[in-house]
């Protein structure tokens, strides 16, 4: 422990470098070969397997697990990448406990599913350092613009490039990866995996990266339509919901996504400032990622406050348990009513809530949590969009093949309607859009 462990305010160096390294090590240790074979052997190779149905990218899970069990993890990786080119990242960040592993028949039977996520990581890690496993088809002379180098954009770009089209990815930031690089908890993607995966993915060839290209500022949809045969929009959600309370602009009141992004980009976590008492508002994965990482950075007290009941939290039970295991306190049925600040944040006041006749009602009874840092994790929204694009709710409207209302323009990932804001779903949408783009460009549609 360093001197400032219990210092008030937002300050760096609450814990030493060794502890920090341990705190941010892999959440799930990778399997060694023997562990993987033993874990793979637990798979029953189910007929029409429920896990496969539960996977948004429909990976042939029993097949890839059997390929691991028989000593061919490279073939297993190909089975995975055929369906999900970001299978490496999905193996790390997928909430498997609510997808494939939730429906595993061994979960049903014993409450202990086949560890599909870890097995997928074992298979995909095996080939990450090897030659790219896919080959491009002969070039078609067609060009595709992809906006956003996140999971949806990358999945789309890889697939259309593989089909022989030439792709340019326009990325607003200076680095690719999207939420894989900026958005998820560091202990889920260690050793710069997002960038390694991006480099590996680009090994397919035919994809040009252009960074610092923001839609509406540096590039326009009409410009892209003129210059390319097809356009895919996968720029995610760039705006953040606000609490709409006084003092929201006070010092140390921050967006959780910005905090997580800064943490992911930090070279030295001991130099990253964190509050002594931290409050996170929200109930999704972002709230958990922010709360847990705040605790791991050395915050003494971290409280996640969610306005509804715990079973309504978007974060999975596994994530909730993880937070509590790390010492994060979960307070449910409480809604923020005041940010107490004196130029700088000092506390937050919440009112208890209750569901009355199906509606969430804020009660008069309140409590105040002293805090020196507050993270808002109450959702993200679409940034400014080209006017031509039709919206559905607060997202870009797309059909079942990811087509927008604008001919020649497809969209997928968090910015598009449908989906569930999961990496794996974004990959599926990017991939499916690519197949439809290909069919359209080749005249099949």
């Amino acid at each position: 422990m360093t001197q400032s462990a219990r210092a008030n305010g937002v300050t760096a160096g609450r814990i030493d470098a060794t502890q920090m390294q341990s705190n941010f090590s892999d959440l799930h240790e990778p399997y060694d070969v023997h562990e993987a074979v033993v874990a793979a052997d637990r798979c029953y190779f189910c007929h029409d397997a429920p896990c496969m149905t539960a996977c948004p990218t429909s990976i042939d899970i029993p097949l890839f697990i059997r390929q691991i069990a028989t000593g061919t993890p490279e073939a297993a990786a190909t089975t995975i990448f055929n369906q999900n080119i970001l299978g490496g990242m999905c193996a790390r960040v997928c909430p498997t406990e609510t997808l494939c592993e939730e429906v595993c028949v061994r979960e049903t039977a014993e409450g202990k599913p086949v560890e599909i996520g870890r097995l997928q990581r074992f298979a995909t890690d095996t080939v990450m350092s090897k030659a790219h496993p896919f080959k491009r088809a002969a070039t078609t002379g067609k060009t595709v613009a992809v906006v956003g180098a996140g999971p949806a954009g990358l999945a789309c770009a890889h697939r259309v490039a593989m089909m022989g089209h030439d792709v340019v990815i326009f990325e607003a930031r200076a680095k690719g990866g999207g939420l894989n690089e900026f958005g998820i908890a560091a202990y889920k993607s260690t050793n710069d995996f997002a960038q390694d995966e991006l480099d590996w993915l680009l090994g397919i060839g035919g994809i040009e990266m252009r960074y610092g290209q923001s839609l509406g500022q540096d590039i326009s949809l009409t410009g892209l339509q003129q210059d390319f045969d097809a356009v895919f929009l996968g720029m995610g959600l760039s705006a953040v919901n606000a609490l709409s309370l006084d003092n929201e602009a006070a010092e140390n009141v921050e967006d959780a996504v910005s905090f997580i992004g800064a943490l992911r980009q930090a070279d030295d976590l001991t130099k990253l400032p964190i509050g002594r008492r931290v409050v996170v508002i929200g109930g999704g994965m972002t709230a958990i990622d922010a709360g847990v990482q705040a605790k791991l950075l050395g915050a003494e007290e971290v409280t996640i406050v969610y306005r509804r009941g715990q079973n309504a939290m978007a974060a999975s039970e596994f994530e909730q348990d993880l937070a509590q295991q790390k010492g994060v306190k979960l307070v449910c049925n409480a809604s923020p009513v005041a940010i107490v600040a004196d130029g700088r944040l000092t506390a937050a006041t919440f009112a208890y809530t209750e569901v009355q006749d199906g509606t969430l009602v804020t009660l008069d009874e309140t409590f105040t949590l002293p805090c020196d840092q507050l993270f808002k994790a109450i959702g993200q929204t679409l940034g400014d969009m080209p006017e031509a694009l039709g919206l559905k709710g607060r997202k870009i409207a797309v059909d079942a093949t990811q087509k927008t209302n604008v001919p020649g323009v497809w969209a997928g990932g968090d910015c598009a309607s449908g989906g569930d804001d999961l990496t794996v779903t974004a990959v599926a949408e990017g991939r499916d859009a690519a197949m439809d783009i290909h069919a359209t460009l080749m005249g099949a549609n």
């Binding site: 033993v38 052997d41 029953y44 189910c46 007929h47 028949v105 061994r106 049903t108």
Partner: protein
């Protein structure tokens, strides 16, 4: 607690668990440890003729196959008989028998197929105080190339001849160890009996290549790039051994000859099964080589518990109990009709029964959209494959249709009369039931 003391061809031991003649019984050090661990007896590693001993390879002697988590399922062995001088072995046997008079100590012997050789060596070995002899006509590798081991065991006339020489020479019990590398186990068993053997022991190991190294294209175990067939043993061979034991126990010519059961005995249950099929005791090797001598404690406690539960007071009570129920296919009751039944509460919806039945059997299991699997009685032939592939114990069982019920597959009413193939109208050679 059930009495586990065993008397096999007059040889007494505190329990029916002997260590087979094999690497674990090669020397005094091991055998003393085995007896301390609780083994009822040992068959000492096969002794050869006096003079320079055989030599073993200096590379791997064993190959293996594994199940999940590297559980050893089958072992293959190319080790020869003892490679230590005869006098050393005899001196050690003498000391061990003197210190453990209550344990069985049987000498395994393999010398060339010459009368003189057998008649000279047995009396010398008998001086150790051993309780009997086991003639090694079983080893399929190495020694067989020199006209011994399974090379003798594959020629019934040689078995009878050598057995007779031995019986003429010694008053101690003579057990003949049989090779399974033959087409009909009854012939060598009959030959042993005809030669005057007191018992047979089986099975010795099975010719095998455990695997092929696909990098070097060599069979395993590999010695300098080459491999040879070795003797296969361990849990994988048990079903083959059980059948051979049962055939000897139930066939008119050989029934009644004492049998020492060998082949993949790993637990008390395996031992009980061998004994139920007619073995008077069992010999163990691979299980000890895999887990060490301590496993005998589980075998003792398990057999004892089971015998108590069943009300068997002595080991002799269980020997051969299942033999009357081993029959020929032609005598199986064709009027016995069963159907698979799936316990929906126990079902975990993996669909393995469906895949097995739909792809490879009789399309007798239906699958609904919400993964409910149900047996279609009008297609189910009761093959039992679904039971065998189901990962859940007792989830799928076979229900016997009672007399008077209609078999929906055949449309026939189930009869409780016994009727077999010998009287079936489809059998061209059927004889009318009298």
């Amino acid at each position: 607690m059930a009495d586990l003391t065993s008397e096999f061809v007059g040889i007494k031991s505190p329990n029916p668990f002997w260590l087979a003649s094999a690497p674990p019984t090669d020397k005094e050090y091991n055998v003393r440890r085995a007896f301390e661990a609780g083994w009822g007896g040992v068959v000492w590693k096969t002794l050869g003729a006096e003079g320079p001993p055989v030599v073993n390879v200096n590379g791997p002697r064993y190959g293996a196959i594994w199940g999940a988590d590297r559980r050893l399922l089958g072992l293959n062995n190319i080790e020869l008989i003892t490679d230590r001088p005869l006098e050393v072995n005899l001196a050690e046997m003498t000391r061990v028998k003197k210190d453990y008079p209550d344990r069985a100590l049987v000498a395994s012997v393999m010398v060339p197929c010459e009368e003189q050789a057998w008649k000279e060596i047995l009396p010398r070995i008998a001086e150790t105080g051993c309780d009997g002899f086991e003639l090694n006509f079983g080893c399929p590798h190495g020694m067989a190339e020199r006209g011994m081991g399974s090379a003798v065991g594959q020629v019934p006339e040689y078995i009878e001849m050598v057995t007779r020489w031995c019986k003429e020479t010694t008053s101690l019990p003579v057990i003949v160890k049989l090779t399974p590398n033959i087409t009909n186990i009854l012939q060598p068993a009959q030959a042993a009996k005809d030669g005057g053997a007191d018992a047979v022991s089986l099975i010795n190991t099975i010719n095998s290549i455990t695997s092929v190294n696909l990098d070097t294209m060599s069979p395993e175990p590999m010695i300098d790039g080459k491999g040879t067939h070795g003797g296969y043993c361990g849990p994988a061979v048990k079903p083959i051994a059980l059948n051979m034991v049962a055939e000897i126990a139930r066939s008119a010519g050989t029934a009644g000859i004492p049998i020492s059961g060998i082949g993949g005995v790993t637990t008390w249950r395996d031992a009980a099964e061998f004994m139920a099929l007619g073995a008077g005791n069992v010999q163990v090797c691979t299980a000890a080589m895999t887990y060490g001598f301590k496993i005998v404690q589980e075998m003792i406690s398990g057999l004892s518990q089971w015998m108590d539960e069943q009300g068997h007071t002595s080991v002799q009570d269980i020997v051969g109990r299942a033999v009357p129920n081993v029959t020929d296919w032609q005598y199986l009751n064709l009027n016995h009709v069963t159907k698979a039944r799936i316990d929906q509460d126990a079902c975990i919806k993996c669909g393995r029964c469906y895949a097995a039945c739909e792809d490879t059997s009789h399309q007798a299991i239906s699958m609904s959209e919400d993964r409910v699997f149900e047996v279609q009685d009008d297609e189910c032939v009761a093959c039992n494959l679904c039971v065998n592939v189901c990962p859940v114990d007792n989830c799928i069982t076979m229900e016997t249709l009672s007399a008077g019920a209609t078999d929906e597959r055949t449309g026939k009413v189930v009869s409780d009369d016994y009727a077999n193939w010998t009287t079936h109208p489809n059998n061209p050679g059927a004889t009318a039931a009298e």
